[in-house]
């Protein structure tokens, strides 16, 4: 065990892990986070807390994580390279760990162009691979990126994101390998809709033996409506929504669309469970956290193991 | 990767047709050729097509190879007997030209040497047979050769016009494939959908099919094709599209590029025929995203 993370424990035990996420509020009231966290209690293993998601200012991920931690949940600190240079990032990692937060996800983050501060400086002192390396070195070498030693290094269970669908596709396995090499313990993927393509990617991952080095949590996002499906297809960078998904969503009555989306998510999880190398699921029910229990249940992932 | 390797690897090939000069001023051929270097897989050099006496395809092909391009030269039966044909084939091999396409001979009615005597010692299948024989190290007189040449030989489909013309052309192609041809070049395709039937049947032959894409330079040319070539399937809408374009030349390039794109999933390659507008080839390639 590299860390005390519950996630690491579940994954190491060979059981399918389930994670989900909550977005912190655009204000100072912690109740929103707590409420969302409560919905997920006992349903998922670890709750990701996003970091200025879609480049919009929100309550900091670390603060929100701390609130969840107080509730006894297992939060995962998300951090992007967009807003902080390596000094600020390391400082926050130390701070988070001091609150008992031992999972983190290292990301580059959405470009500020899409957010509410398009005029903001785009820091990117490090990229996500360099970021992973830094966190790993902090944990395993006990060293800051600058080389100085850390007294009581943070033992973070380190996650990365992977998009199996972004172009160029042929590079996606190699890129996972780079992240793995840099220090990622697990990876949460982009929402999966194109299952054949995901399987193809997984095949590449397994062929390279990567599935033995890094845990792959398949990303699942239930569709609420055909409108959302189309939006994801056309507007969200790096998203691959095949036409038959849209067709399926369009084929049902409007008020039954949400239920169809849930069913589809459940079916996907069931199908992906069988795929070699899939170590768990990351269910991103954006502003729809209340539906996560249903999905997890219907997918046969309950009860969650206690480790 | 050479033309042959790409063909074998089932990769999409892009060929361009380049005519030799009528005369000895090769500057245009060489300059146009240089511009294409690295942009096409090979250039096809026709030989006296239309019965217009010109610099021989072999010489043109060698010149283009000297510019760093790979050449495919046309061989045909109208103007040479088996002696001359075999001799030239050996010469081609020695000079480094290893891609051949056996083409039917153009009618001499439009020739600039209408009084010339057509030879037709061999027919196309006979010529293919001669090529095969040479590759086996013998000549048609069964004598052994010093060293064996190697060729990658294609044949040409005579017509894409539905019905009898295509059926006949298909039979001829089958015969030529049986005689040793390994790929087929079609007449120009202007409407991929309209040609879907014939193209499908060609696809079933199991050899690489390369479709010709012809740059329509003017409304008059489009009309000419519509009226005179049943296999062309040049529609009135296409004619109107060119006519209405503010810049007809660019529209023609665009149309050619669109056809190339449409063929991308249908055939294993394209042969761009620009007939004198070789300077427009890069534009077509750019627009087609090649």
């Amino acid at each position: 065990m590299k860390t005390d993370s519950v996630l690491e424990k579940i994954l190491t035990s060979g059981q399918l892990a389930v994670t989900s996420e909550v977005g912190p509020p655009r204000g100072t009231d912690p109740e929103a986070v707590k409420k969302k966290g409560e919905l997920l209690r006992g349903v998922v293993d670890v709750v990701n807390v996003t970091d200025n998601q879609t480049a919009m200012v929100r309550m900091s991920s670390m603060a929100a994580c701390a609130h969840l931690k107080q509730l006894g949940l297992h939060p995962m600190l998300q951090m992007v390279t967009r807003d902080r240079n390596r000094l600020a990032m390391q400082a926050d990692i130390l701070g988070a760990y001091s609150h008992g937060i031992d999972n983190m996800l290292c990301l580059s983050g959405d470009h500020p162009k899409f957010g509410d501060h398009p005029m903001a400086a785009n820091v990117h002192d490090l990229d996500s691979v360099q970021f992973l390396r830094m966190v790993k070195d902090m944990r395993d070498e006990g060293k800051f990126q600058g080389g100085d030693e850390i007294t009581d290094p943070p033992k973070m269970f380190i996650g990365a994101a992977a998009n199996p669908f972004a172009d160029p596709f042929e590079l996606r396995v190699a890129r996972l390998a780079k992240k793995s090499a840099a220090g990622a313990d697990f990876v949460q993927t982009q929402c999966i809709y194109n299952i054949p393509k995901f399987k193809e990617w997984m095949k590449g991952v397994c062929a390279r033996g990567l599935h033995k080095e890094i845990y792959v949590l398949a990303g699942i996002t239930p569709m609420k409506s055909v409108g959302m499906a189309r939006y994801m297809k056309n507007k969200v960078p790096g998203m691959d929504v095949p036409a038959d998904i849209i067709k399926r969503m369009a084929g049902v009555e409007k008020k039954k669309a949400a239920a169809e989306g849930i069913t589809m998510a459940v079916e996907m999880i069931q199908e992906l469970k069988e795929v070699e190398g899939v170590a768990g699921f990351h269910i991103m029910a954006i502003e729809w956290e209340r539906k996560v229990p249903e999905i997890v249940e219907r997918a046969g992932l309950l009860p969650r193991p206690s480790v | 990767m050479s033309f042959l390797k790409r063909l074998t690897a089932k990769e999409f090939v892009v060929l361009a047709e380049m005519h030799t000069p009528k005369g000895v001023d090769i500057s245009r051929l060489v300059n146009d050729g240089r511009r294409l270097k690295g942009r096409v897989d090979a250039v096809l050099v026709p030989d006296m097509d239309n019965g217009i006496m010109r610099l021989s395809a072999l010489a043109g092909g060698v010149l283009l190879q000297q510019q760093g391009l790979e050449a495919i030269i046309a061989v045909y039966c109208r103007d040479k007997n088996r002696m001359a044909l075999q001799g030239d084939l050996l010469a081609a091999h020695v000079l480094g030209v290893q891609n051949l396409i056996v083409v039917p001979s153009a009618d001499m009615a439009q020739s600039d040497h209408r009084d010339a005597k057509p030879v037709f010692d061999l027919d196309e299948a006979g010529l293919l047979n001669a090529i095969a024989t040479l590759q086996e190290g013998k000549d048609l007189g069964s004598a052994d050769l010093d060293g064996r040449p190697f060729f990658n030989t294609g044949c040409a489909l005579a017509s894409l016009a539905d019905g009898a013309p295509f059926d006949e052309a298909l039979e001829a192609v089958k015969a030529q494939l049986a005689a040793g041809a390994t790929f087929v070049i079609t007449p120009p395709v202007f409407d991929v959908q309209a040609c879907a039937g014939p193209l499908k049947k060609l696809g079933e032959l199991g050899v690489p099919i390369i479709a010709a894409v012809f740059l329509i330079k003017s409304v008059a040319v489009a009309r000419y094709l519509a009226r005179n070539d049943a296999g062309a399937h040049v529609s009135d809408a296409l004619i109107q599209r060119i006519k209405k374009a503010a810049d007809r030349e660019s529209e023609a390039v665009k149309i050619a590029a669109e056809i190339v794109q449409a063929l991308g999933s249908v055939t294993q390659g394209v042969l761009l025929q620009t007939h004198g507008w070789e300077h427009r080839l890069p534009a077509i390639l750019d627009m087609a995203g090649l």
């Binding site: - | 097509d49 009618d107 439009q110 409304v219 008059a220 009309r223 000419y224 007939h275 004198g276 507008w277």
Partner: protein, 1012 residues
């Protein structure tokens, strides 16, 4: 005195007649490198056209359009101009005619005479001018730009020879000048003696002899002319007052039924002449003047003429009255009473007019018949030289050619076409001679770098054209106030030889080093004034023209004050620009001597054969798979010639000619280059093989299409066909024709309509031809011709009259109320209104024949015009450079048109235009090199940032970055568009002749008053 001649003159052509036709022939021959002797019996050349005031349909001033040709004729050193000279006898044959020429003494040394007029002032009785046609002896010079610019003296009339001699300040009077007779050898002869205008005196009913206010149209023309007896004012000869009502009587002396009433043929030009006079009358002297044209038919079948006719009715409110007879008498109040029978009425009407103009036609006078006799040239019954459709300018005698009115009545464009055609044919007998005698030794160019700027401003009045609107003197005095202007004056007709010489002298005397001409468009006249500067020892690029005519006086006729104010500004702009101009050098390139002929019909083949016959390599591109064009469908001409056989001969000759490369199935796809060195790409044959041809000139003979309009059930009923369709039937299937008992022909089917406004010109004669042919085969047939105007121009009128005599019935219909055609079994019922019976008629016809004529080949010419960048008329024909004077030249130098691509025309006219195009091509290619002018881009290397903008912007890929790291532009390749100059971010490139300083100076010149 007879000079024995050596053999040296074999290479010469004799051109008889110095009118427009003779001049054009002589100029074409001279420009293509042949030596010419141009003789005219008159004291100065110019012929009939010099007496016109303005010509239709552009209403240009003829003197202005003509004078450039005249002074050119006067100065081209290959042309030996001999006025007052007649042909007395000929011997020999083509290649070596021996011609005896007799010159009447002028008693004036042309080289000395300055045309100062002192002799005339002192001795008017013996100093002669051609009095023009005005029988009321004008007191003016015949026209101010006369060539040669010299007087002539009749010594017999002179009472005091000594005094006369002394009156001449330069001693130009030669007392003992004698008749000279020379015999010279000529390779070929062109006859362009013109014709004379009918004298209406014998027709008593017209009152021409008695009534001073009855004029011939030519006299009326003189009255309108600025150089005429009234100085350009329209006044009644009887009382000097302005007329309020003017009538024109058409066909005076033409289309006569009786010999004493004139000639039987149609003089072809009078209808347009009258319409033009009516329009000009209104335009210049007041729209309230009533103008009425009394006519039998309005025959406006030339290019653009029909539109002009319609405009005269619709816009200018010229009244047209169709009537049968007329006579005239003076009324009590001095008004002329005109009695006529309107077509739609059976009672005579009497109407009063202030002036009556007789539209008199042409006839061949006795002296021209004598000339023909001496030259052993056959004439037709009317005295015109005999020619045929496929040899339109060849007379019965080999080596003798004809052009203009002597070949038949015609208008100016046809004369110009024939003149060039005759030049082409005449040139086949004489070789090109080296340009051995440059008569103009150009003075060396003056270095002006160190001189202060001295601008001379010369403002033209151009008769009424500018002076009638703009206050020229005001402009002249205003110019004097402008900076650096040291000289300014009014030069009248600036482009006349006299004024040009005056300007030249002034430049030299006043040491001017920049010149501004206030005149007409630089498009047409800049080169002439540039040449003038060069002759004055200045660089040709130190002149600018302020376009006071086309872009000021002509467009602001209603606002003279504004026009004058604008004229001042235009002069200011010109002065500002020339102050910045610098001496520039021209660039040259060798010309290709090959010619591309597009179109393999009669016109294309004729042009190709004419050129190939002269040794030019011709590329003939035909889009169809065989040669022959539309004429393949014709069998006979009106005159009975066998068209099919002739076409077969033409095709065989064309294909067999070793200088002609024929491309059938050839589609032109691209074009570039410049006059003298074009490149054209085409795709040829079934496999669309691409050929690129380099050629110096291009002849477009792309033809027109036989019209097949969807009217009168054409294509819907078997009994309805076009005149064209039955050509072969009439030849090969007379049995069918014999079954027809009633045939109705409908004229103007699909012509003169909204869709196809032009008159198709040939359909009236086609219907007459077919009617006569049907009657030959089936004399019992009853033939009805429904028409709007019968336009059987020239000698076709004889056939028309014959058809009437043989019982063909002609009924006029109104386009508002056209005939109706309905099917009745295998026949058709035709219903129409007969204006004479004033009733609707209806009949069952076995056959309805539609005279459908031509329609422009939009499919062919639309794209060709785009590729060659040539303008077309609204109805799709190629637009020539000048409708009257340059009917063969297209607006882009190096392009010529022949045949129906220009406008509907007969085979004869097509062949003539083809030969004319061949001649025009030769005049271009004889130059040998291309003058690229001085408008080339120049890079100032020290400013260049090597940014590649010019390299990327140039449409021709000319600029490149040289070894020094600067942009370099090869002036020989530069086309002079100036795009690079406009885009250069470092302002390192200037287009010479249009550099920024000059353009900005123009703006400053214009806007001075605002900023000052």
């Amino acid at each position: 005195m007879t000079h024995p001649q050596s053999n040296q003159s074999e290479g010469k052509v004799l051109v008889v007649g110095g009118g427009m036709g003779g001049m054009r022939t002589a100029l074409d021959l001279a420009e293509s490198g042949r030596d010419v002797v141009l003789v005219d019996k008159a004291v100065s050349i110019g012929g009939l056209m010099t007496q016109l005031d303005r010509t239709f349909p552009t209403n240009n001033c003829d003197l202005c359009t003509l004078s450039p040709n005249l002074s050119q004729a006067g100065r081209a050193h290959r042309i030996d101009l001999r006025t007052m000279t007649r042909v007395e006898a000929t011997k020999g044959e083509q290649g070596a005619f021996e011609v005896t020429l007799t010159t009447t003494p002028r008693h004036i040394d042309i080289d000395r005479c300055t045309a100062c007029g002192d002799c005339l002032r002192d001795h008017p009785e013996c100093v002669s001018f051609t009095p023009g046609l005005d029988h009321r002896a004008p007191t003016c010079m015949r026209y101010p730009q006369a060539i040669p610019q010299a007087y002539s003296i009749n010594m017999e009339q002179c009472a005091d020879v000594d005094a006369l001699v002394k009156s001449c300040p330069v001693g130009a009077i030669v007392i003992d000048d004698k008749i000279t007779t020379v015999t010279e050898t000529f390779g070929s002869i062109v006859l362009a003696p013109g014709a004379e205008v009918y004298d209406p005196s014998p027709i008593a009913a017209l009152g021409y002899s008695e009534q001073p206010d009855v004029l011939t149209s030519l006299e009326y023309e003189r009255l309108l002319s600025a150089s005429g007896p009234t100085g350009g004012k329209l006044l009644r000869p009887s009382n000097g007052q302005a007329p309020k009502k003017v009538a024109w009587l058409q066909c005076v002396g033409s289309r006569a039924r009786q010999a004493d009433q004139g000639v039987s043929y149609c003089s072809s030009a009078c209808c347009m002449f009258a319409i033009k006079e009516a329009i000009v009358t209104k335009e210049r002297f007041g729209t309230d003047i009533e103008t009425t044209i009394f006519n039998m038919d309005i025959r406006t079948s030339g290019k653009g003429y029909e539109a002009y006719y319609q405009r005269s009715k619709d816009t200018d409110e010229v009244r047209f009255v169709r009537c049968r007879t007329q006579n005239l008498q003076a009324g009590e109040t001095g008004a002329l009473q005109l009695r006529y029978l309107p077509e739609e009425s059976d009672t005579f009407v009497t109407e009063g007019f202030d002036m009556v103009v007789l539209s008199t036609g042409f006839f061949i006078p006795e002296d021209i018949r004598t000339l023909a006799d001496q030259l052993k040239v056959d004439l037709n019954a009317h005295g015109f030289a005999l020619t045929d459709s496929f040899h339109p300018v060849s007379t019965s005698r080999a080596g003798v050619y004809v052009a203009g009115l002597f070949e038949g009545p015609k208008d100016i464009p046809e004369t110009m076409v024939q003149a060039s055609a005759a030049a082409c044919m005449a040139a086949t007998h004489v070789g090109v001679t080296p340009d051995a005698s440059p008569t103009e030794e150009l003075p060396p160019e003056r270095k002006i770098d160190d001189e202060p700027v001295r601008v001379g401003v010369f403002v033209c009045e151009c008769g009424e054209n500018i002076g009638g609107v703009v206050d020229v003197d005001n402009l002249v005095s205003h110019a004097q106030t402008l900076g650096d202007v040291t000289h300014s004056e009014n030069v009248g007709y600036g482009c006349s030889a006299e004024s040009m010489e005056h300007i030249r002298e002034t430049i030299v005397e006043q040491k001017l080093n920049r010149v501004v001409i206030g005149g007409c468009s630089p498009r047409t006249h800049l080169t002439r004034f540039q040449d003038l500067l060069r002759k004055a020892g200045l660089n040709r690029y130190l002149v600018d023209i302020a376009n006071l005519r086309d872009q000021d006086a002509w467009v602001h006729r209603d606002a003279p004050e504004l026009a004058t104010a604008k004229g001042r500004e235009l002069i200011q702009m010109g002065v500002a620009a020339v102050r910045q101009s610098k001496p520039l050098a021209d660039q040259t390139l060798p010309m290709s001597q090959d010619v591309l002929v597009v179109g393999g019909g009669v016109a294309g083949m004729s042009a190709a054969l004419s050129l190939a016959g002269q040794g030019f390599k011709v590329h003939l591109a035909e889009r169809e798979n065989e040669l022959g064009g539309e004429a393949r469908n014709l069998r006979r001409t009106l005159e009975g010639e066998d068209v099919r056989t002739q076409i077969e001969h033409l095709v065989a000759a064309t294909e067999g000619h070793d200088k002609i490369q024929v491309y059938t199935g050839a589609l032109i796809v691209d074009h570039g280059g410049m006059p003298g060195k074009f490149t054209t790409g085409m795709q040829v044959g079934p496999q669309l093989f691409y050929r690129q041809i380099t050629h110096g000139a291009t002849v477009l003979a792309t033809g027109a299409l036989a019209n097949r309009p969807s009217v009168y059930m054409l294509g819907e009923h078997d009994a309805v066909s076009t005149q064209h369709d039955i050509e072969s039937l009439l030849e090969d299937d007379t049995d069918t024709v014999k079954t027809w008992s009633k045939v109705v022909m409908i004229q103007c089917a699909g012509s003169r309509t909204k869709e196809n406004p032009a008159c198709s010109r040939i359909c009236c004669q086609s219907s007459i031809k077919n009617a006569l042919r049907i009657l030959d085969v089936n004399p019992a047939a009853s033939i009805w011709v429904l028409y709007r105007d019968m336009r059987t121009i020239g000698m076709q009128e004889d056939a028309y009259q014959e058809a009437r005599r043989r019982g063909v019935i002609f009924v006029r219909y109104d386009p508002e109320n056209p005939p109706q055609v309905e099917p009745v079994d295998d026949k058709v019922k035709v219903t129409f209104h007969d204006p004479i019976l004033a009733d609707d008629l209806s009949m069952h016809a076995d056959r309805v024949l539609l005279s459908t004529g031509f329609i422009a080949d939009d499919e062919g010419t639309e794209e060709l015009a785009r590729i060659f960048r040539l303008p077309r008329t609204e109805d799709g024909y190629l637009l020539e450079d000048h409708i009257k004077l340059r009917p063969v030249d297209l607006p882009t130098l190096g392009f010529y048109v022949a045949g129906t691509a220009h406008s509907p025309k007969s085979i004869k006219e097509s062949v003539a235009q083809a030969q004319a195009a061949a001649s025009r091509v030769q005049t271009l290619l004889a130059r040998g090199e291309i003058n690229l002018g001085a408008a080339v881009a120049r890079v100032e290397a020290s400013r260049c940032a090597a940014c590649l903008v010019c390299v990327r912007a140039c449409p021709y890929g000319v600029p490149f970055i040289n070894a020094d790291g600067n942009s370099e532009i090869d002036p020989a390749l530069c086309h002079g568009c100036g795009i690079c100059a406009a885009e250069c971010p470092a302002k390192a490139i200037q287009l010479q002749q249009f550099d920024d300083d000059q353009i900005l100076a123009k703006l400053e010149g214009l806007l001075e008053r605002i900023t000052a």
